[in-house]
């Protein structure tokens, strides 16, 4: 570490500090900035040239007086200390203690940027996680090591859903518990408190590592926060053999902070002012989930992404969907009708479900039941739409059956209590209650064995 301080800042705006007359500073290195009130700020070099560097200041550049700003280069990248003591602790976006307790001391220090996992070192996630929520387990199952975001909107119960998943997630056939990494970017005090109380109430607080950047904390810090949190998660998963569930909320605030800095840097914008590298940047975060060959632990990622104006084509949810292994989409319409969790079934998807369900993992009919429910519900929604145009009286008996299916499906299958923890078998049995509203011939996505075994023939069959 160099003790020399430079007082050669030439400009400061938008969280960026341009400093001249500096030695050759490594790209990505940390810097300490001391302002005129002798307060320390943390920075990182994001462009380096002979004699000149650009520093991103995590606490922001507000009210810096360039004449009285001293910069010191630490000759090291942004790192955090790692030890099992992380659990139960609360940190800020760059890994400093936020709970008034002493910093973690450990010989294990890692660069928060990590290095890309070699695809040849990965192993495919296949283990079904039961969340106890029918719309997820039955239709969009989560698998250990998956990255599955919740696409939401302001005022929708994404936090309650995320908390319910964290509370109920478990494997079907194993005694299992998850270590939890909770990463909050730009969330309100109320939301942060909600999660803390949730963790406390369910008695998992000692298993949680929290990284918190609140809505009134400096936005630039949000750029480091998910990286810091995932470095901790990787340590727990791949050094300590834990299965880690990471909640990242809210990635929209992260991306907004990225846009802010990109704009200040003068990067060429692509859609809606977000820089062209938003995709790669998000991927660097999301792709840190998964499983690695010959390692016991895993990282399952549950990012929350609020869709600005409920628009799923907005660059943040859009690029997220291109990277993650599916998405759980929440619907304002269902929410307004009092359905919880308001999972919008059609656009929701779990890409890894196929390998986590079926005979060896849940039940043999599961994949076909899911496909059949999707087909029926899609058709039912079309019919509902038709009914709203031409009137229900115009519909055939067959169409009316679809309408009553849609209602029952929403009221009984999607809708459930916030404390209700349904086993996957309960979920599948419930599915058959609904499928049995149709005669066997109408169910061509399940096979004849399924029908014989599970269809409540009789009245309709």
């Amino acid at each position: 570490m160099s003790a020399k301080e430079y007082r050669t800042a030439r400009s400061a705006h938008g969280g960026l500090l341009l400093v001249e007359g500096v030695p050759d500073v490594a790209f990505g290195d940390r810097a300490m900035i001391r302002d005129h009130r002798n307060r320390q700020r943390n920075g990182q070099v994001i462009r380096s040239a002979v004699q000149e560097v650009l520093i991103q200041v995590y606490e922001g550049t507000d009210d810096l007086d360039l004449e009285r700003t001293w910069i010191r280069f630490l000759d090291q990248p942004l790192e955090i200390s790692l030890s099992p003591e992380l659990q139960g602790r609360v940190f800020n976006g760059i890994g400093q203690a936020r709970d008034g307790r002493p910093p973690i001391v450990s010989p294990v220090r890692r660069n928060v940027n990590g290095a890309a996992i070699n695809p040849a070192a990965r192993t495919y996630p296949r283990k079904f996680i039961q969340t106890g929520i029918s719309s997820i387990d039955g239709l969009n199952a989560l698998v250990r090591g998956q990255k599955l975001p919740i696409f939401s909107g302001s005022g929708l119960p994404h936090n309650r859903l995320a908390a319910q998943i964290v509370r109920q997630a478990r494997l079907v056939d194993e005694e299992s518990s998850f270590a939890i990494v909770f990463a909050a970017m730009g969330v309100s005090h109320a939301d942060a408190r909600f999660f803390e109380e949730e963790f406390a109430a369910s008695g998992v607080l000692a298993n949680v590592v929290m990284f918190i950047n609140l809505a009134d904390d400096p936005p630039v810090e949000r750029l480091a926060l998910p990286r810091v949190a995932l470095t901790a998660a990787e340590y727990l998963a791949f050094d300590m053999d834990r299965h880690v569930l990471v909640v990242l909320t809210d990635m929209t605030h992260y991306a907004e902070a990225l846009r802010e800095v990109a704009t200040a840097k003068g990067d060429v914008p692509s859609r809606k002012g977000y820089p062209g590298y938003l995709y790669s940047d998000l991927a660097e975060i999301y792709e840190r989930s998964g499983r690695i060959r010959d390692r016991h632990g895993s990282i399952t990622l549950l990012p929350v992404v609020s869709m600005p104006s409920d628009d799923i084509t907005h660059p943040i949810p859009d690029l997220t969907g291109y990277i993650t292994e599916g998405q759980i989409v929440l619907s304002r319409e269902l929410h307004n009708r009092g359905i919880y969790p308001p999972v919008h079934i059609l656009p929701s998807l779990s890409r890894l479900m196929k390998d986590g369900i079926g005979r060896d993992d849940t039940r043999e009919d599961h994949p076909r039941v899911a496909s059949q429910l999707y087909a029926l519900y899609a058709r039912a929604l079309e019919t509902r739409n038709l009914a709203s145009i031409v009137g229900a009286d115009e519909l055939s008996d067959r169409d009316c059956r679809y309408l009553s299916f849609a209602d029952a499906f929403e009221a009984r299958f999607i809708n459930q209590g916030e404390e209700e923890d349904r086993s996957i078998i309960e979920t599948l049995n419930l599915a058959w209650d609904l499928l049995s509203l149709f005669p066997k011939e109408a169910l061509t996505r399940v096979n004849e064995t399924d029908l014989a075994k599970y269809h409540h023939s009789g009245a309709n069959g």
């Binding site: 940027n113 040849a120 990965r122 790669s280 060959r293 084509t313 292994e325 999707y374």
Partner: protein
């Protein structure tokens, strides 16, 4: 490229872009930068400075660190040992790196792409005579690379001359000489089992041929409705989750290609793992061999450095051309070309080039066209036939097909498999939308189907498409005035279109039987749905109410047929078709009796 012993120094680092001072460096030259020895490529010269795009993360690099030109452009190693492997965007062997360096990819590593220790059994071409004059591309001998692939060792395209020596049959390492050649200038050249080729230069061939037959993918909507020709260019655009990657994986699994190259360009790591873990267990339905014996992977996942993403497509296509030159039909799958285009955009943005649309540089369209142009059916330098079929996915932001990459790609390709969010949302897979998809290869395909499968392919295909078009039209009416407004005949048309969708177009990649459909099976299923349509239409003409037809149990049986009968159980499908004819005949008779009775 020049040799320039001068060492340069780094002047500035801006993400993946490094500015260096290095006299004599040329555009396109490989450069080693920094104490870590990161590899990059010179992409622009500005005064006495050169701009380098680095294939690896530049974190920790400082101004003042050294830089040196390597004297050659980005090249790949071509020889036995490619098949079954996984390489990164600049052809570093990921399996070996994993064994030597662990779970994460360290920087500054440059292991050779191909294993130098492994012995390959070389059998020289018995027709070659010492002293004879060999032209570029001459077959020198062969190595059995995998149980499926006979690797033909060819004289590199930039070599010709008198054969001075040729090794006898035996086991050789890649670096062992297997022959000697004297070129026209009198110099003698060692011949080896492998060669190098610069990736941005297409490998030469004798001439192009028009595509002569379809690439059979085993996917009904593709083969039967929107076929692609061997040597063709195809695109699969679609929003996230619509099924682009599954389409490509299905082609990688089931198409009748000799060699498959899958380039994971800026996509998920787990999708490559999926291939690595499942392909060795799967059988190529055309040869019965393990799929991994014909497959190789290029991986630049979304979290790997952006610049190597741009390179990965060229690395893939060069390897594809190399197997083409051995007389093989090669399929190259690029998932996703949008990420490749974004890598271009990223670099051009950092160079301060003027963006034209959505931040993309003006040369986007020409670069895209040049890449796709490397596909084709050709006659090799030694007179064999070979082909490269290139299939790229496109990931339009927000699913909007009017964005630049989709729009330009559409101008270039010959087969367009457009994926629809609506279909995917309803779990209609593959979500290939029959309205906006197209193929320029119908005539070539029709010829082939007629010759190989059955005489009525073109007519039946047209008939089914016409029914689907009617469906769209009638559905619009229903949405305006309700289903009651339709006649029985029209309702039967709707019902038949639904049958086409469910019994024919929908094909689950996850179903062990339905995942692959032989051309014969496709043809019989197509026949089946049309038989039902026609049978029903005739009865309605006679006055049978549509309601009665909709309750026929054979409709459910028809819908299950695709999953019930495998590609080889064509006899059972024929029987089913016979039963369908029978069943309609029975209804007709019964109805006739009923009418007689009433009169």
């Amino acid at each position: 490229m020049s040799d320039h012993p001068e060492r340069g120094t780094i002047r500035a680092i801006n993400g993946p872009i490094i500015t260096i001072r290095l006299p004599g460096v040329r555009i396109g030259e490989q450069v080693r930068v920094g104490h870590l020895g990161l590899i990059g490529e010179a992409i622009a010269l500005q005064g006495d400075e050169a701009v380098i795009q680095a294939y690896e993360s530049t974190e920790g690099v400082r101004p003042g660190e050294p830089a040196a030109g390597l004297g050659w452009p980005l090249s790949v190693e071509l020889g036995p040992g490619l098949i079954g492997g996984i390489f990164d965007g600049v052809q570093r062997p990921l399996q070996e790196i994993c064994e030597s360096a662990g779970d994460h990819i360290p920087r500054g590593l440059t292991p050779p792409a191909l294993n130098r220790e492994k012995l390959w059994h070389f059998v020289p071409d018995p027709t070659l005579r010492l002293g004879s004059l060999l032209t570029a591309g001459t077959h020198l001998g062969s190595v059995q690379e995998s149980a499926r692939i006979e690797h033909r060792i060819l004289l590199p395209p930039d070599h010709q001359g008198e054969l001075l020596e040729l090794a006898p049959e035996g086991d050789y390492r890649l670096e062992d000489p297997i022959g000697r050649l004297r070129s026209a200038d009198g110099r003698s050249h060692k011949l080896k089992l492998f060669q190098r080729w610069p990736v941005r230069t297409p490998r030469p061939y004798r001439q192009r041929h028009p595509s002569a037959e379809p690439l059979i993918t085993g996917q009904r909507i593709m083969d039967t409705f929107f076929p692609m020709a061997k040597g063709g260019k195809a695109a699969v655009p679609g929003p996230f989750g619509a099924g682009k990657t599954v389409v490509q994986h299905q082609i990688a699994r089931w198409s009748n290609a000799d060699v498959v190259i899958f380039v994971g360009c800026g996509e998920r790591g787990n999708e490559l793992v999926d291939v690595l873990e499942t392909f060795p267990q799967l059988q190529d339905p055309h040869t019965g061999r393990s799929l991994m014996e014909r497959t190789l992977l290029i991986a630049n996942t979304s979290n790997m450095p952006v610049v190597a993403r741009e390179a990965s497509i060229y690395v893939g296509i060069t390897i594809a051309e190399y197997y083409r030159d051995q007389g093989y039909d090669v399929v190259m799958l690029a998932d996703s070309t949008s990420r490749w285009a974004e890598a271009l955009r990223e670099v051009s943005g950092r160079l301060g080039q003027m963006p034209v649309e959505d931040g993309y540089p003006a040369y986007l369209a020409s670069r895209l066209a040049a890449v796709y142009e490397r596909a084709g059916q050709i006659e090799t330098l030694s007179g064999m036939r070979g082909s490269v079929s290139l299939i790229g996915t496109v990931s339009p932001p927000g699913g909007d097909f009017s964005e630049p990459v989709t729009a330009h790609t559409k101008e270039i390709i010959q087969t367009f498999w457009a994926l629809s969010k609506e279909l995917a949302d309803a779990r209609h897979y593959p979500a290939i939308d029959w309205v906006s998809s197209f193929s320029d290869h119908i005539a070539v395909a029709a010829e082939w189907w007629k010759r190989e499968v059955g005489s009525n392919w073109a007519q039946r295909r047209a008939k089914a498409l016409a029914l689907l078009a009617r469906d769209a039209e009638l559905s619009r009416i229903v949405n305006l005035v309700g289903p009651e407004a339709l006649s029985d005949a029209q309702r039967w048309e709707l019902e038949s279109a639904l049958l086409i969708k469910e019994a024919l177009l929908q094909q689950s990649a996850l179903d062990p039987i339905d995942t692959f459909s032989s051309p014969e099976k496709q043809y019989l299923l197509l026949k089946m749905v049309l038989l039902i349509y026609q049978g029903g239409a005739d009865l309605i003409e006679l006055g049978v109410p549509v309601q009665e037809l909709m309750e026929l149990p054979l409709l459910a049986r028809a819908r299950r047929a695709k999953q019930r009968f495998s590609s080889t159980e064509t006899e059972q499908l024929r029987e089913l078709n016979e039963e369908i004819i029978q069943a309609f005949e029975e209804v007709r008779m019964e109805y006739a009796k009923f009418k007689e009775h009433r009169q």
